[in-house]
Symmetry: C2
Subunit: 324 residues, 2 copies
């Protein structure tokens, strides 16, 4: 990791240690919110510190009473210009919280609004450890180590530099399956996603940002644990599902939902996280690396839909074209 | 309220007071989870006590570390037989949490699994104060008054007996609009719902249980604050949206999203919570009553779709017909 990134993270960690952090809020919008949610997942699973995820404007308007001087608020926006998230940073800072903005733009409004910044590189040829995955996961596991010190978290941080190579290997490994998915599904007007645990956030991103936003394909990210309590009645032979079969604690939920859709739909795609290449990662740390590796794998499935539908992921009908 | 219900709630409140409640978990599945979420909404907004919502099986498998002896776990299942929720009650109880099950069946497995029960009447001719709305909101506002005592909560409890009459009046008031919605949308294969604040949970129930489960109509409950961060690109002149314009803190989010869909879709239905009949409720308590009155209003919209599509809400293709 480049020294300036390591220094930014170290500064945040020192600031967090200097306060008695009683709760953590992750605040952003859309895909950035989903990415932050992996932090909430591991904090809730492994520490007694309450953590929460809010879409930025709900955070401001609900004004949760738990936010105060002993609160760590982590915000994120790729460009650092998302107005709701910028406003949320100012809002949290005024309430005395320790605020940290994550963005690719160190000079962005979001980074100016928060007390601390954690900047990542984007498409400048840097290694993945200096990109959004490496920087974010390093931050989160350093924060976890403040909240509930554990040698495991230090090992995660030590092994995170392998993430770039692993992303490349997994992209290679899943390329053909993704292409086949794009080919088979190019005429679909609706594709459901399904997952649980940490992976529900990947499903959410895929649904909101890739299918609905970029591909104009109807979707809904269904939690595998909720599937049998309503959504499963929508299943039919011609209803497509993309199921992320996680490698974490809630894998049995995914397995049960998957068994069902495979029985009643002819259009089921599975991305099994256990089959990812985790080469060089300690066995007991795999569950932490799975979410870090899954984003670029799922991206392939969207790329393939774009390729086969002839609808590039960069096309928009409203965004960048008007005020809203 | 019937004495046996009042006594059950009083017992829970005494038990909660006897412990130092440090956090509250709401655990259920599907529509029951969505209903419990109104508790999380008001607790997070108005108290410093951390509260969380989990679908039951995720709760068990993630095994959040925050659950312990100073935890209040509220569970809910209409029939009291939902296996995941029953298992979650036992799980939480084993961890020493104070467990409370809400159900219409006092003898159900869920009620047997938890330490305390709060039973409500269902379709036995009782007034709404002894039904699911009256009992649940009384419990929640009594719990709020334990967590952060406030005379407002006592006034909510005192005024809740009006809820039955108000539900009837609102059903009357919205009947024609709902019927028109059913008529106009009877050929739709997909209908999105949208809301924020407390009402996102109504949107979730409507999407999962009414549209997808009972009507086999594709859907997704979009948070109004998330709409512009992905989902809005799916908007087109022929894409239907049912927007719940809330009366709470996040109403501005709904207004912004609504302005957009009304501009670009010809098929937008609005249920404006501010237009509900709140007769006899104190002005400063309306935001607490809105969520309690909205369920039966939205139900009309599903009833109307059932009527005009000829697809009764009672029809299932999987539930009750097989094991899954």
């Amino acid at each position: 990791m480049k020294p300036e990134h390591a220094a930014q993270i170290a500064t945040v960690i020192e600031a967090a240690k200097a306060r008695d952090i009683k709760n953590v809020y992750f605040v952003a919008c859309g895909g950035s919110m989903a990415s932050l949610s992996f932090g909430e997942y591991f904090i809730s699973k492994e520490t007694e510190v309450p953590s929460f995820v809010y879409t930025a404007n709900e955070f401001i308007h609900r004004n949760p009473k738990g936010v105060g001087e002993n609160t760590l608020v982590i915000l994120r926006s790729h460009s650092g210009t998302t107005p709701e998230t910028v406003a949320a940073a100012s809002f949290a800072r005024e309430k005395g919280a320790l605020t940290v903005s994550i963005s690719m733009e160190a000079e962005s409004p979001l980074c100016q609004a928060a007390e601390h910044i954690v900047h990542y590189n984007y498409k400048d040829g840097s290694d993945a450890i200096d990109g959004e995955v490496g920087i974010f996961y390093t931050l989160i596991f350093e924060v976890l180590n403040v909240l509930a010190p554990n040698e495991k978290y230090k090992r995660v941080v030590a092994q995170l530099p392998k993430v770039g190579e692993l992303i490349e290997k997994n992209i290679e490994q899943f390329a053909d399956a993704a292409n086949e998915f794009g080919k088979k599904n190019k005429r679909e007007k609706i594709i459901y996603t399904m997952a649980s645990g940490a992976y529900i956030h990947h499903a959410y991103s895929f649904t909101s940002c890739l299918l609905m936003e970029m591909l104009w394909i109807h979707s809904n990210a269904i939690h595998s644990g909720e599937f049998f309590h309503g959504p499963f009645e929508i299943t039919d032979y011609d209803v497509p599902f993309l199921v992320v079969k996680g490698d974490g604690a809630s894998r049995p939920l995914d397995e049960r939902a998957l068994d069902f859709v495979q029985k009643f739909s002819d259009k089921v795609e599975v991305v099994d996280i256990e089959t990812l290449n985790y080469g060089g990662i300690d066995e007991d740390l795999k569950e932490y690396f799975g979410p870090a590796l899954t984003g670029s794998v799922l991206r392939l499935y969207a790329d393939a839909l774009a390729e086969h539908t002839g609808h590039p992921l960069s096309v928009r009908r409203y965004m960048w074209k008007m005020d809203y």
